[in-house]
Amino acid sequence: MARRLHPLIAKVSSRPEARAPSPGLPWWLGGACALAVVLALTALPLGAMLVEAGTLDPGALFADPWVARVIRFSLFQATLSTVLAVALALPVALALAHEPRFPGRGALVTLFSLSLVIPTIVAIFGIVAVYGRSGWLNGALANVGMAPLPLYGLPGILVAHVFFNLPLAARVMLQSLDGIPDNQWRLAAQLGMGPLARFRLIEWPSLRAPLIGAAVLIFTLCFTSFAIVMTLGGGPRATTIEVAIYQALRFDFDLPLAVALALVQLVMCALLMIASTFAPGDGSLGFAPTAQDARDAYPIEGRGLRQRLRTWLERRHAPDRACWRPRAGMAVRLSRGLIIGSAAGFVLLPLAALVIAAFNGKTLSVLGDPATLEAARNTVIAAFATAALALALALGLLSATRRLRVRARRERIGRWLQLFGNVILVLPPVVLGTGLFLLLRPWADVFSIALVLVVAINALMALPFVLRVLDAPMMRVARQHDRLLQSLGIRGWNRWRLIDWPVLRRPVGLALALAATLSAGDLSAIALFGSERVRTLPLLLYQRMGSYRLEEAAVTAGLLLLLCLVLFATLQRLVGEGVRARTR
């Protein structure tokens, strides 16, 4: 019965046993440090604000009609923006879902995800260039003899909010619609369902949860939006709480009002966050790991550049298999094309206007201007620092929560600790900045350490995104291999080097890219702490727009956009994939 033993087995089995590995740092150290930093950056400023608030009179505060109006306007514009963004995104998502082989579909959806990378202030400039007083739209209207349409005020805020959030909503809804199994479509066709019935019975049930989740998120984003309201608000008539806090601090030096508004904002954001936990949906916003992501983690060697480019464009956006959709008439298909075209145009037009406007008589002089160069330098420094800090915090936090969730089987505690990474959602940038200002002003000249404060705030702003990108890959490795790692004694630096980093490399590249571009394009933190001494490109752009030096602003906007794209591509590529060519 026993087979003849292979001679080698006998040879191998006479070797001595493996030596024991050495212990490393405690597993909770990274998490504890990360949490300590996050808490220090949020609890201390919050404490400073509460101390200042102790002198406030809440009765007088809420009786002030200005405060009431600001709160009302914030809620009003956020509601209107959300409704518009979601309502307009729905036909776009439906159109795209029903045209799975539409040429350039992948590119369009990728364009939609760029709204995360394009700096707000840059897009605002593009919007002004198209819809503004002397923009393309009014130029065209003037040619046909119509009066110009006003941009500043509520219309401008709505246009900008829809510009940023329609792609987000469309992407989320499209992902959900693409997930509907083909058989449901076939069944619908067989049963002779018309479009309305199809919508009611197949599409809407799939859309309902992600749509509500997206709506809640979009509402939060619009409620706390700063740069858009600052530039396009056009005056006291259109002021949100976030902008009012900034103005109380930087215009009036009215610390009590600033703190009062900041605390109101905090309460509102906390309520929104609680509301969002009740909203259905997985909260992944299009970043949900798909099967393609799992494949990407272990890429197959030997793919040529062109194929990789095509895969990059199509990946994660085109349905994975050849799919079937109900046949539709020419008219319907044309109207779908029109909808898709309009959406694409709406998103592309401001970008195109910006690029065109950036090449004007002042281009070279602005590019060579020391103010521009210094602002660019500060922007890049802050971007890298933000990316590094956000990554360090995220990795520290996730390494500890991963251990809690997988090995210690404490899923809930682990998830709760991870929520601390989202603290910026409760303390928006201007609120946080106000607290930091109050905290640090007695000790230091805050304008001198502006870049440090900007980096700190930006890192907290980027942290939720970085966590979201890194969570799934880190958890996947842990869930699959935890016992094996324990059994082989692979821990600490060895684990990171051999096991985690190769798998995390791509997500880390993406996370760094996201954090860096978020910082490069941010206006809120720098608006608070910036000065003629320390400026970043967004602040410089905002000032040039504010002084109506539009040609210079155009060049600045173009430069900032270019910088963001280069930062994103470089970090994602260099870190995510490495400089060396893929070996065979």
């Binding site: 009036d252 200002f437 304008f447 870190v575």
Partner: protein, 346 residues
């Protein structure tokens, strides 16, 4: 057997970041020169056509080995906000660009020092009693209009409120701009408790509210965005003298015009207080004042005699001079601004 990956990206990056942060922080602590003076002022003061360069050159010639550094901030009231924000750690030695409306508020911060400058011989429409602030020019707020867009300008606030729809104005934010605050106080001085009704009625005419005077005047008004802008009765003087055109004129209002006296002061905690006081003493002297009429486009505080531009004789004379005392403004400003905000958003 080689390792599949190399770990260096994760090591280099933090080191690089630390180095970059060090560079960013490095120049943050300013080492002030023993004889250098930092003056916070508004942007148009140091623009190419402004008086800043002339005054700087003249003062440096007089003091010998000192240097004057003007720090342009983006609005006039922003100067006060800025030193308040910076508190004791401010780098400023002198603040230049506040006006009478902000004097009491500024004094309350406790950051300013007595000027020790003799202000008794100055030529002003009012008596000067402050021992902290030194005036360097004055003017009257007025709506400047484009004669090519508006043939007959309104002659009073009532006329403005009743004017045809296309008579629209550009104004400044009273929270950030001294002209902005000036207009607020002008309307208050004329209408008292009915000011908010006037503001409400004025709303549809307002094209936009800018942060500072420069963008309102240069970027918007001179580019034809509106036929009228809030500025000074002296603004046309520049166009008449330098641009040699009568196109832009000031509208004389029967209600009278609000006076603005612009002032400078020294910071108490400045390490260069003596030099700062020298600078303040220098401001109301002819070498500095000659730059004012065509540099800052305001009236000088000393009699320049024949050095006054001829065009200035063709400027409007206010029917009456309106001015609210600094203490009244200090007590009421917040409430009045709230009233303005309220009326603007109704």
């Amino acid at each position: 057997m080689t390792l599949p990956v190399s770990p260096h990206p994760t090591l280099i990056r933090p080191a690089l970041v630390a180095a970059l942060l060090a560079c960013a922080l490095g120049p943050s602590v300013a080492g002030a020169d023993a004889r250098s003076l930092t003056v916070y002022t508004y942007e148009s003061f140091v623009s190419e056509w402004g008086p800043g360069l002339t005054i700087k050159t003249a003062f440096e010639a007089e003091c010998g080995d000192c240097t004057v550094e003007f720090v342009p901030l983006d609005s006039s009231a922003g100067i006060l906000n800025r030193v308040q924000l910076e508190g004791k750690n401010t780098r400023a030695d002198v603040v230049l660009g506040l006006d009478t409306n902000l004097m009491a508020i500024a004094e309350d911060t406790g950051l300013l020092a007595p000027s020790e400058v003799d202000t008794t011989e100055l030529v002003l429409p009012i008596d000067w009693t402050s021992d902290v602030f030194v005036p360097y020019d004055f003017g009257f707020f007025a709506f400047v209009y484009d004669t090519e867009a508006l043939a007959t300008p309104p002659t009073s606030f009532e006329a403005l409120l009743d004017a045809p729809e296309d008579v629209r104005i550009i104004i400044q934010d009273p929270r950030t701009s001294t002209p902005g605050l000036g207009l607020l106080l002008w309307i208050k001085a004329v209408y008292g408790d009915e000011a908010d009704a006037v503001w409400e009625k004025l709303q549809p005419r307002i094209v936009t509210v800018t942060k500072g005077w420069s963008e309102a005047y240069f970027s918007l008004f001179l580019n034809g965005e509106a036929p009228m802008v809030l500025s000074y009765s002296t603004s046309p003087g520049y166009h008449m003298a330098v641009d040699e055109t009568d196109r832009w004129q000031a509208a004389a209002f029967d209600d009278g015009h609000y006076l603005q006296v612009e002032v400078a002061a020294a910071l108490k905690d400045s390490p260069n207080l003596a030099l700062a006081r020298e600078f303040l003493a220098f401001l109301p002297t002819p070498p500095a004042q000659t730059a004012i009429p065509l540099g800052n486009v305001m009236y000088p505080v000393v009699d320049l005699g024949d050095d006054m531009p001829e065009a200035f004789e063709r400027l409007i004379e206010p029917a009456s001079v309106l001015l609210l005392s600094p203490d009244v403004v200090r007590d009421e400003r917040e409430g009045w601004i709230d009233e303005w905000l309220d009326a603007s958003t109704r």
